[in-house]
Symmetry: C2
Subunit: 178 residues, 2 copies
């Protein structure tokens, strides 16, 4: 991964945000990362949950691996199968994802947010900065639990990932299978 190589556009933009967007601003990419935080790890599960074209999913996963956001590692031999897991660099996207999702929940969700993130140690919902209002500290994703919120299940989905997310689940823990 050559850090000098900016993607095909935004090149003239001398800006950290532009560089982030070069990777993360592509269609579907941030939804894939969000699913990775939920604990989705397998190609087929991303596919079923996101309704994303297979080719696009493959391209995006590759780009995220190239950028060091995900690692691709075998979870079984014969037949050799791989899973995609967030790296430390990927996990550091949590504040950005949380802030964006929080904004969407506050401003674009007429029935309220569809998922709530609560700090495991104190049970409090985290705010737009990712800080837990109860303990005052930033709550890292490992200490958070997702649960359905008031606006949940509006268009009722019925893939394995959506079903699993109907009960509280700790972020980053594998969501399915094992």
């Amino acid at each position: 991964m050559d850090p000098m190589a900016l993607g095909k556009d935004y090149e003239a933009q001398d800006c950290a945000l532009a560089r982030a967007l070069e990777l993360l601003g592509e269609r579907w990419t941030l939804l894939i990362v969000r699913d990775a935080f939920y604990g989705v790890r397998r190609y087929g599960d991303f596919l079923a949950h996101l309704d994303i074209p297979r080719a696009v999913l493959a391209t995006r996963l590759q780009a995220l691996v190239d950028a060091g956001v995900l690692t691709r590692r075998p979870y079984q031999e014969s037949p050799r199968r791989h899973e995609y897991v967030l790296t430390e660099r990927g996990r550091e996207l949590w504040p950005a994802l949380n802030a964006l999702g929080h904004w969407g929940g506050e401003h674009l969700s007429p029935f309220g947010p569809s998922r709530l993130y609560t700090h495991l140690t104190c049970g409090t919902r985290v705010g737009r900065t990712g800080t837990c209002p109860a303990c005052g500290r930033f709550a890292p994703p490992e200490e958070l639990e997702v649960r359905p919120g008031p606006g949940a299940d509006r268009p009722h989905r019925d893939d394995a990932v959506s079903r699993a997310l109907r009960r509280p689940h700790r972020l980053l823990e594998p969501l399915l299978a094992e």
Copy 2:
């Protein structure tokens, strides 16, 4: 602005992040919002700073106005001209923008971040959550100053906006003209 109307895609995604991305995930949109935080307000200035096709800029500005992120208001009569300014809803995007930019600066910028954001009251650089490490509080954009960082001006741009941003500037204050 009908909050029920989800854009053309991601529709099946029952998720606040997907709704935010519906608007903000389109190419160029977040860079436009970033420029608005810098104090860019005029069509022509966005155009010169971003190197964005005119048609795309017009479409995106319209979408941001429709979503209530920007307002379009006259800044002179005869000839009637308008400027685009962040609304309260738009200003609430700051944590998301900061987090994303911070991540890009830390992980994708070999020469370090090209711009630094410092809290005016204490002169400290804000972190990935938008919280000022010195005073411990969240620093709202009005209290921040942008200045060039170590990785600044890599591809040397020479439009009015880039020139103005070479000296420290308070976020949200108009950057040019008046």
